[in-house]
């Protein structure tokens, strides 16, 4: 039902991870300034390269599937685009982000001709390759961002960006670069295409609480979902006049979210379990916890064992050192493993426990009673 993987002998948290196109290689950052590339051989993960160009903790990794390039960004204010040489080693190219604070997140655009970097400098750098000078340059989206950008995601049309930040707002911007791209078709979000045009702005809560942790465009591009630190999950729909739905959940805050069909969202975070939500005509509906771990039956708790434990540790059970989920600490990153946002069948999660878990939605659908992914 689920596969669990560990990388190397380290038990350090995994900051973030990214897969290559064939899903036989993975780039992870073990909560430091390095990015490790692992390749699967049989059932083993072998380390093939160590990308150690950054000086401070790596904050974001993204692997472009078709052009096979990796982009990493870090708290040292730099981003690198990594290309694979003939000898299979990865070589970095520095990107001129022009920021004076840590870079926090990075994403390739769907066409892989540009990428966006969010940062603590209250701006988003949209970067593209300038062939005349043979380097990556960036253009800034500044206004009206007022605080650190924590999350971003690309619209499937390659032209729009959704940006979440710690000023409790989610904004949709145009990220069209006229030097390298044709004028795009208008979308329900608006027809203006100038880089940095604010097309929509959503406040996470009227009560001004909860910075945005993760944002995601729906596969048809008309909806945006985000999760925030006030334990809510939200959806805004451009085809319905930017109507927003907010759901106050009973869980600890989510750190990451993604669409897995046009109407289903997976979110995961401090509760250590991925949770499935459906977006229907009537709003957001809680569907299921995807981690169905049950309390293990202890092989007949003997009276002697119980009294022994009561005597030694003042509690009747000894097996409560682990929590009832596969992940033993907060989940920080969700990636699609199989399929796209419109028909995802497997996704992967990694977190502070250093574990990477691959979840198979088809088998989960069979195993969890009443679970139907629409």
């Amino acid at each position: 039902m689920t596969e669990q993987h560990r990388f190397g002998t380290t038990i350090a948290p995994i900051t973030c991870h990214a897969w290559n196109k064939n899903r036989n290689q993975i780039a992870i950052s073990p909560n430091n300034q390095e990015v490790h590339i692992y390749e699967k051989s049989g059932s083993e993960w072998k380390i093939t390269d160590n990308l150690s160009q950054h000086d401070l903790r790596v904050m974001g990794i993204d692997w472009a599937p078709n052009t096979n390039r990796i982009v990493t960004c870090s708290a040292d204010r730099n981003a690198y685009v990594w290309n694979q040489d003939a000898d299979k080693k990865w070589k970095p190219t520095l990107v001129l982000l022009r920021i004076n604070r840590a870079a926090t997140c990075v994403k390739w655009s769907p066409d892989e001709n540009k990428f966006a970097v969010g940062s603590g400098a209250r701006l988003v750098s949209v970067c593209y390759f300038e062939s005349e000078n043979d380097w990556w340059v960036s253009k800034h989206i500044k206004k009206p961002l007022r605080s650190t950008v924590t999350a971003l995601d690309w619209h499937p049309n390659n032209m729009l960006l959704v940006v979440g930040s710690t000023d409790f707002k989610v904004r949709v911007f145009s990220a069209h670069i006229k030097d390298i791209e044709k004028v795009p078709e208008p979308t329900p979000w608006g027809s203006k295409t100038t880089l940095g045009t604010l097309l929509a702005e959503f406040s996470n809560s009227s009560a001004g609480g909860g910075w945005v942790q993760s944002v995601s465009f729906s596969p048809d591009g008309n909806k945006v979902c985000w999760v925030a630190h006030d334990s809510t999950i939200n959806v805004a729909d451009a085809s319905k006049g930017n109507a927003t739905i907010k759901m106050r959940t009973e869980f600890l805050p989510f750190m990451s979210c993604t669409w897995i069909t046009n109407n289903s969202i997976v979110a995961a975070g401090h509760s250590c379990i991925p949770v499935l939500y459906h977006h229907t005509e009537n709003g957001l509906v809680f569907s299921a916890k995807l981690d169905a771990s049950q309390k293990k039956e202890t092989g007949g708790l003997s009276a002697m064992k119980m009294f022994h434990s009561l005597d030694k540790q003042a509690r009747s059970e000894v097996s409560d050192t682990s929590i009832l989920s596969i992940h033993q600490n907060a989940i920080t990153c969700i990636c699609l493993y199989n399929g796209t946002k419109s028909n995802c069948t497997k996704f992967s999660t990694s977190g502070l426990d250093g574990l990477l878990v691959i979840w198979d939605l088809n088998s989960l659908e069979r195993a969890i009673q009443g679970l139907k992914i629409v």
């Binding site: 300034q33 009206p144 001004g208 609480g209 630190h229 334990s231 106050r248 009973e250 600890l252 805050p253």
Partner: protein, 149 residues
């Protein structure tokens, strides 16, 4: 990597003070002026404690900048919370919407902050019932919300 030093004075330098686009809180339009004390008291006298509870919670002046308004609302809300008897608490909580659950949880925590004779024990009962319905998310929203009770 940065060198370890014993000096931490640099942490107190406000490097953002020269930026003109600093984060500012949204201006609030005064917000609600708080619940009507007479109305709440008359509801309490008639024994309609649940109605009084809904009234104080829907009119809670959480976004207000006037400390006096907030203090008055807090006193009034605590009075209502403490007037509801322990067996009625579960019923009262079950009638509240998720939004109001968050509000009442804020007042419960504020009540812990400024206790009176026997209030904390009573509020712990409220806390338990609200937690059972709203889950841990309810507590997180009390912590993360910038508009305090």
């Amino acid at each position: 990597m940065a060198k370890n030093t014993f000096s931490s004075a640099f942490r107190k330098i406000d490097v953002d003070q020269y930026c003109e686009d600093n984060y500012r809180e949204d201006d609030t339009d005064g917000g609600p002026t708080g619940p009507d004390e007479n109305e709440v008291n008359s509801l309490l006298q008639k024994g309609k404690n649940l109605d009084a509870l809904k009234l104080v919670l829907t009119n809670a002046p959480l976004g207000s900048k006037n400390q006096q308004t907030k203090d008055n609302a807090l006193t009034l809300t605590l009075k209502v919370l403490l007037s509801i008897k322990p067996p009625q608490i579960e019923e009262a909580v079950s009638q509240l919407s998720p939004e109001l659950l968050d509000v009442v949880m804020k007042y419960v925590y504020k009540g812990f902050e400024c206790p009176s004779e026997g209030s904390s024990g009573h509020l712990l009962l409220w806390h338990e019932k609200i937690y059972n319905q709203g889950g841990v998310g309810c507590i997180v929203r009390v912590l993360s919300d910038t508009r305090r009770a």
